[in-house]
């Protein structure tokens, strides 16, 4: 068990590519932190620097109170689970899991005890004599996790461990990983590009983009209070709608958001102070699909009705997603599945502006 900390960590590759641009990150003991971001955002590189598989160009990485910049991977007391499992193909499941312990000269009975214990946690006891090629994808991934667990390391590192599994198995293994973490409580750093995985697993999510950390926070925090347009757009599925808008004077001394000449929405009074100083500027309005829904006469009073032509309807069972265009910008709304909507028809909509986000178009900062 240990805390991990990255201090001003930079990674430059040959040829001048800067993959990680000076990140600071403190991971507490027993915490489950997920690094998430699009391809090439530096999340895997960061993980590999923690593992010791990549050299650190600048800055320091601490594990359990020691700087590990120059410590080789085997002496960092970490365990890693790879995307493609990386099982030793010529060894049985037992030997795969025991390999690290054998190299560390653990006594035989202790190795057996630990492997059996890990096999029990992961429910792979009956597979111990098999070779990896005789296992299914999910079983292989369990063995890879077992190999990490038996070592009882200070830190677990996961590098997109579920990307190779099919959708159903992925959800199952996700729960499994969370369960394992709840059992062993080892500090965990987990890399994924899947924001659902990040949200469901993490104590804290680190959103990365272009080699920098965009935001660190609990899943709820990132979802409800993103600090940048990137985070707002990356977290949540379907993604947040972004519309160019302008803040102007509204009724009764309040403010309003003007999206088009026809669509002018009142800013909730609680946000007037916050948005007042941006009056007259070009801004970007962010609204999640679930905060954009069909208008009911009997609904909340004072909510603005906007009629829009339906472009595409996606029924998903418990909800239906409806896509529109406002100007040239695509917009998605989540409506009640009972709502009748056909492509080409006009659908009356309204928005919960208490959940709106307003961003500066240049910096992408949420105001």
């Amino acid at each position: 068990m240990a805390e991990v900390s990255c201090r001003k960590v930079v990674k430059n590759y040959d040829g001048g590519v800067q993959a990680v641009k000076g990140i600071d990150l403190e991971i507490a003991d027993r915490e489950f932190v997920v690094l998430v971001g699009p391809s090439g955002c530096g999340k895997s590189t960061t993980l590999r620097m923690i593992a010791g598989l990549e050299e650190i160009t600048e800055g320091e990485i601490w594990i359990g109170g020691d700087v590990v910049n120059d410590v080789p991977p085997r002496d960092r007391d970490i365990a890693m689970v790879f995307q493609n499992y990386a099982l030793y193909p010529h060894m049985s499941v037992f030997d795969n899991m025991a390999f690290g312990l054998k190299l560390r000269k653990f006594p035989k009975d202790e190795i057996k005890r630990r492997v059996d214990e890990a096999a029990r946690i992961l429910d792979i006891g009956m597979l111990l004599d098999r070779k990896p090629r005789a296992l299914s994808g999910g079983q292989r991934q369990r063995v890879a996790m077992g190999r990490a667990i038996v070592r009882n390391p200070k830190v677990f590192l996961f590098d997109e461990p579920l990307s190779n599994l099919d959708a159903k198995l992925r959800v199952q293994m996700r729960t499994e990983i969370k369960k394992v973490h709840q059992t062993v409580r080892t500090t965990t750093v987990y890399v994924t590009h899947d924001q659902v995985e990040a949200m469901t697993l993490a104590d804290r999510v680190v959103v990365m983009n272009h080699g920098v950390i965009e935001q660190v926070g609990s899943p709820q925090e990132l979802y409800h209070n993103p600090t940048t347009r990137f985070v707002a757009g990356f977290i949540g599925s379907p993604a947040m709608n972004f519309l160019p808008a302008r803040i102007q004077d509204g009724a009764n001394g309040g403010l309003a958001v003007k999206v088009t000449d026809q669509i002018v929405l009142p800013v909730p009074p609680s946000r007037v102070d916050r948005y007042g100083k941006h009056k007259g500027k070009e801004m970007v309005l962010g609204l999640r699909p679930e905060h954009l829904f069909e208008y009911h006469e009997a609904g909340r009073p004072g909510w603005t009705r906007v009629d829009l032509p339906v472009d595409v309807v996606e029924p998903m069972g418990m909800e239906t997603m409806v896509h529109f265009f406002i100007g040239h910008d695509p917009v998605c709304a989540r409506v009640d599945p009972a709502t009748h909507a056909e492509p080409g028809e006009m659908l009356p909509l309204t928005a919960d502006l208490n959940q709106m986000h307003l961003m500066e178009p240049d910096s992408g900062r949420v105001v």
Partner: protein, 299 residues
């Protein structure tokens, strides 16, 4: 019962259609059989002729009548002569000894070199890997004069052990190249997993790479064996007394006496000399199991 029969009769039979795909396949098969047949004839006739001749007496070989492809009075006298002939025993032992040593040296160097070149990623490793292959492109006949100097300087002229130095120069570059290819096909994550599990580079090589790349090592072994067992030029140039010779040179220098060719004995010697390669190929091919990496990663 009867109803079953009726139902069975009602099922329409799948008709075999002679479509163009089927015709193409037939043509392709015929083409393959003809081509393979030609190859079999070209490659198997010389060994067959060798075997036939080795079973003939000198008189029968010299006789101008009768078909040369058939043995009328088969005899093992040529074989018996060679087996009891001390010089031939020496050649045989020398060849076996040198080949074992050369294969061991070549594979050791090739595996270590290929591992470091393909996995340790040091500065210039790519260039070095290409360099290794380029060495293989230099013909042995170009090298044997400078090598003669070196062997002379080492005092190993007419010493069988000079071959243990010379043959690896032929075998190592290609073996290294084969091994680089095999090692490169092993997923990078496997060494990273081993590094994290606590293995050093040598442990990683020994416990992961060598077992996983066994098909490659066997391919390299077969190559090194072939080079060593069949090499002719170097032993011809560097060895001249019977007690130091290997089979390839021994056979021709001992069984061609002046302008007298002891054909029966030469052919019998060739048959005996080709036994080890046949055994090695047959034995190693069984262990040449491709796809050993199956299961390491998603596949």
């Amino acid at each position: 019962m009867s109803s079953t029969t009726v139902v069975a009769n009602e099922v329409p039979r799948a008709r075999r259609t002679h479509n163009s795909l089927h015709r193409q396949r037939t043509w392709a098969l015929w083409g393959s059989y003809i081509a393979l047949g030609v190859f079999v004839v070209i490659f198997l006739v010389p060994p067959f002729y060798t075997l036939m001749t080795s079973l003939k007496t000198s008189a029968e070989i010299g006789a101008e009548s009768g078909s040369p492809w058939i043995v009328h009075h088969p005899t093992f006298e040529n074989f018996w002569y060679l087996i009891t002939y001390p010089n031939f025993q020496t050649y045989y032992i020398n060849s076996v000894m040198i080949t074992i040593v050369v294969v061991a040296i070549s594979i050791t160097i090739a595996v270590l070199a290929a591992f470091s070149l393909s996995r340790m990623g040091f500065w210039g490793s790519q260039t070095l890997a290409t360099g290794v292959f380029l060495t293989y492109l230099i013909p042995a006949s170009l090298l044997f004069l400078p090598l003669f100097k070196i062997i002379g300087w080492l005092g190993l002229i007419n010493n069988i052990w000079c071959l243990a130095i010379l043959y690896p120069t032929l075998a190592v570059p290609f073996c290294t190249w084969i091994m680089i290819g095999y090692f490169s096909s092993i997923p990078k994550e496997l060494d990273e997993a081993a590094l994290i599990d606590g293995a050093g580079y040598l442990q990683m090589l020994w416990t992961i790479f060598i077992p996983v790349a066994m098909p490659g090592i066997i391919a390299a072994t077969i190559f090194a064996f072939t080079v060593s067992w069949g090499a002719f030029l170097y032993p011809l140039a560097y060895l001249y007394t019977a007690n130091q010779m290997v089979l390839t040179v021994g056979i021709i220098s001992d069984l061609i006496r002046g302008d007298v060719f002891l054909w029966g004995k030469i052919m019998a010697a060739v048959v005996l000399a080709s036994l080890p390669p046949i055994l090695v190929y047959a034995f190693l091919m069984d262990y040449y199991v491709a796809g050993l990496t199956a299961g390491a990663t998603k596949g």
